[in-house]
Symmetry: C2
Subunit: 156 residues, 2 copies
């Protein structure tokens, strides 16, 4: 019997190895989650990456963070933080201020408008989270997180 994933992808032939299926499964699940989050956030006028930045800036508080640090904290790295922040600044979600002590640094801070979006989007995102993890027990979630930790840790 074909696996769940093999059916979803209408695969002509089965996966050669469970490890192959596992990696494809991670990527496909992430692609689906990304679409779901994109849909959910559309009503608030922001993308998943922008949402991620807002969360990071909220975590940094009023000290803010410079662009490089934001880039390091992103779940999905982007090689163009400058223009990502340009767009968010245009939307009024954050402000930028050049650091007087080190004029190379530009400190980014979330605005009240940005914070409001985080608060407003919370119920929507919580619903998505529950919908997609609701059938998993605490132990299964723990094992899942640990297995993914192991996948990210490359050997050698």
């Amino acid at each position: 019997m074909p696996s769940r994933l093999e059916s979803e992808l209408k695969q002509a032939r089965p996966f050669a190895r469970k490890s192959e299926e596992a990696l494809v499964s991670i990527m496909r699940t992430a692609a689906i989650l990304d679409h779901v989050f994109q849909d959910g956030l559309r009503a608030f006028g922001i993308t998943p990456t922008q949402y991620n930045v807002l969360r990071i800036l909220r975590g940094a508080g009023k000290d803010g963070l410079c662009g490089r640090e934001i880039g390091e904290r992103l779940v999905s790295k982007v090689p163009d933080v400058s223009r990502l922040l340009d767009r968010m600044e245009d939307l009024g979600l954050m402000t930028r201020e050049r650091d007087p002590d080190d004029r190379r640094h530009v400190t980014a801070r979330v605005t009240p408008k940005g914070l409001k979006i985080l608060i407003d989007a919370e119920p929507t995102l919580r619903t998505i989270e529950e919908r997609h993890t609701g059938t998993l027990s605490a132990g299964e979630l723990k094992d899942l997180v640990e297995a993914l930790d192991a996948v990210r840790t490359s050997q050698r």
Copy 2:
């Protein structure tokens, strides 16, 4: 103690729930895998999506597949199969032929050049696969795949 993922993302505050961490973990792991595959495939001049198309076309054999069917089988859906195939045709990786029975259909078939890339890239991809799943037991892999199946299945 902060979790592995919290450290990676230098999070100021811990995840509120394990289910939240699990979803972020899936997306981050996929982002890292995507980069790794992108790097690995660069030497062969193709992207992960193009590699995916080549695999799909190899699976379809000499009957080929139309664009819509390719789109349905992609791990990460793209809303522009036409131009994806345009580029692959330009690279000589596949051919397109309008179906005489139903002239709306365009049948795509992998070329020998495309097949050769699949064969040549195999050891590289196998190494990546082993590097990222080598520490997981057969049982852990099975549980991982099942947990991800459950995440993709939204309730309600």
